[in-house]
Structure formats: C-alpha cells, structure tokens
C-alpha cells in the first residue's frame, strides 16, 4: 500500500495535494483496492460548491456505487475528464492520472484537520 509523504489524507480515504489555495483530490491506494475495479466515475460539474465531508462524486465498481466525499470546502475548478473514458486510472494510478477533481479552497485552515501520511497509514493499518 502506498502513502505518499507530500499528500494530506481524510478519514474517508481521499488524498489532497495542495498548491497555494488550490487542492487536487483523489482516492487513496487503500480506497481503490477496497473498491475493486472501477468501471465508472461520476464527476462533479466545474463551478459546483462542495462542503467538507459532503458527497460530491460517485464511482461504480463491481456493481457497487460508492460516494466520494470532499475532504475540504470550496468550489470545483477542474475535473479529470479523462476518467469518463478511462475510469480504470483510479485503480492504476490513484495518486497521479487517477485524480478526480480540484477545488479552490474556501478555508485553507480546514487542511489542518487532515492527516499526514504517517497518521493515515496508522488509521488504515489499525482498522
């Protein structure tokens, strides 16, 4: 299982890559493994406001639809449209080409509530 050091993590198994006031978001290696083969990703629309811990996207894997939650609040400014035709990237490269959406942060202080890689690894391994 991979836990990149430069990312922050939510307890709902999303990762966040921060660049100034913008955050790129996807699901973790643990999450993609738990879901199984992803066959469809329903992306939020650009411009959609999202609230931390609110549902903002869905993925389907082996006949199971799972919600994806926003780890931070803000406005969706970009989505990974490549997933519409290649949803398997969520499994193949969860921290890279499998990213799902990016938000303009509404309150950067919310990042303080997220976990670093060590804390997230501990949460996963103790579950």
């Amino acid at each position: 299982m991979d836990y990149p050091e430069h990312l922050k993590y939510s307890n709902e198994h999303e990762w966040v890559a921060v660049d100034g006031t913008r955050a790129r978001i996807g699901i973790t290696d643990y999450a993609q493994d738990a879901l199984g083969d992803v066959v469809f990703v329903s992306l939020p629309a650009v411009g959609t406001p999202v609230v931390a811990h609110g549902s903002c996207a869905e993925v389907e894997s082996t006949k199971s639809v799972s919600e994806i939650y926003a780890p931070v609040s803000g406005e969706v400014v970009e989505v990974n449209a490549a997933l519409e035709t290649a949803p398997e990237q969520v499994n193949a490269d969860p921290y890279g080409d499998g990213w799902i959406f990016a938000v303009e942060l509404r309150d950067p202080a919310e990042l303080d509530a997220l976990m670093d890689a060590a804390a997230y690894r501990l949460m996963v391994e103790e579950a």
């Binding site: 493994d33 738990a34 879901l35 199984g36 066959v39 469809f40 329903s42 549902s55 869905e58 389907e60 894997s61 082996t62 006949k63 199971s64 639809v65 799972s66 919600e67 579950a127």
Partner: protein, 213 residues
C-alpha cells in the same frame, strides 16, 4: 427502490440493520445507477407492460416479476472485511444459508461471462450460482456509512425476459442456459416461504439482529 433507500437512511441515522423482501407488480426492468436509458427498448417494455425503474445501485438491467427481491441495509464491517468484495461475500453467506434451507446448494460466483447490458448474462463475485448457472444477482450502493445491497432471486420465468426488453440484449437461449430458477431446481417458489428462509439464513450466517421491514 425508494423504500430501499429509506431503509438505508434509517440505518444511517442509527437504526438497526434492516432486511426486506418484495415482489413487483407490474413487472419492472431496473437499470443500474449509471446505465444509459438508451439500453432499453421502450416500445417493447410498453408492449409487455413493463415499467422501467432506475436503481440507486450499480450493475446492469434486470427484469423483476418472476423473482423475489431482497434488500439489506447495514454498516459494513471495519477494515478489510468492509471492502466491496468482502461485504458481497459476507452477505452472500446469509443468502447461501437461506437457500440451503430450501434445499438449494448455491455458491458465490467468480467472474465469468462476457460484459453485457443484461445483468443475468454476467456473473461476478456479487452473484450466486447453482452449478454454473446464476440464481441470484445483487448490487450495492454505499452512502453515509451504510451498505444497501439488493438483489433478485429467480423464482420462476415470465413469458418474456431481458432479451425482449434491452437493446442488443442478446440471445434468449444463452440467457436461459446461464440462469436457473428455484422452480427449475424443484425448490419452493412461494415468496413468503423463500423470504422466511432468507431471514433465518441471514440471522444465522451474519449474526446480525435484523429488523424486518
């Protein structure tokens, strides 16, 4: 479907795990959450008196009418036991135990058959088979910390099937060869008897105190 979601919402709000069983009248073709409506032959559905209903769960088109539909809602186990595949297998334990009470020796399917717009043509780990023929197809949605799984146990065949209702639904004989009903297995087909067996199977195999809805 709305009642199934209400069941899941009740569990998400702190209620006990729920289990319900029901039949469809008139028959209905349910479509997976992200399945395109263009897969459906609406004229054929109207001809056969079949309603088209979207499902909150994944998967492909499934005809209800000759089946018993079950819905179970519960929080998934923590950790590795809570993955999609693991919860399918956990819940399958209840279904297998229930069917065994009816004299049906079912097993978890293991991913055979080509992709298709018709649920029953394909077998995955979410499904149950008797021999190599599918007897139960299931699908899930996970939201607010709850797994809602519903599925269809084939009791008897109707005069028509998915191949009449789905665009490119494939070959009727192939569908019939790849599926089997409880009636064809010589098992009870009374939905009340089947549901009672499922309830007992779920309670024994999952060790969960379900509230029946």
């Amino acid at each position: 479907m709305a009642a199934d979601l209400a069941l899941a919402d009740t569990v998400a709000a702190g209620g006990p795990p729920g289990l319900r069983g029901y039949r469809w009248s008139p028959p209905a073709l349910t479509l997976g959450r992200f399945q395109s409506a263009t897969d459906v032959d609406l004229d054929a559905c109207a001809r056969w008196g079949v309603e088209v209903v979207p499902r909150p769960t994944g998967g492909r088109a499934l005809l209800h009418g000759g089946d018993l539909t079950y819905a179970v809602a519960l929080p998934p186990p923590a950790g590795a036991a809570g993955t999609v595949d693991a919860t399918y297998r956990w819940i399958a334990g209840g279904l297998v135990a229930g069917l065994a009470l009816l004299g049906v020796e079912a097993a978890v399917a293991c991913g055979i058959g080509p992709g298709s717009a018709v649920c029953l043509v394909t077998q995955q780990g979410a499904d149950l088979r008797v021999g190599d023929r599918k007897v139960c197809g299931s699908a899930q949605v996970r939201r607010r910390g709850v797994v809602l799984q519903h599925g269809s146990i084939l009791l008897e065949r109707l005069d028509f099937d998915e191949t009449d209702l789905v665009v490119g639904g494939g070959d009727r004989e192939r569908l019939r060869r790849s599926t089997v009903t409880l009636g064809e297995l010589g098992a009870p087909t009374d939905p009340r008897v089947v549901f009672a067996a499922l309830v007992q199977g779920f309670r024994e195999a999952l060790d969960v105190d379900f509230r029946l809805r």
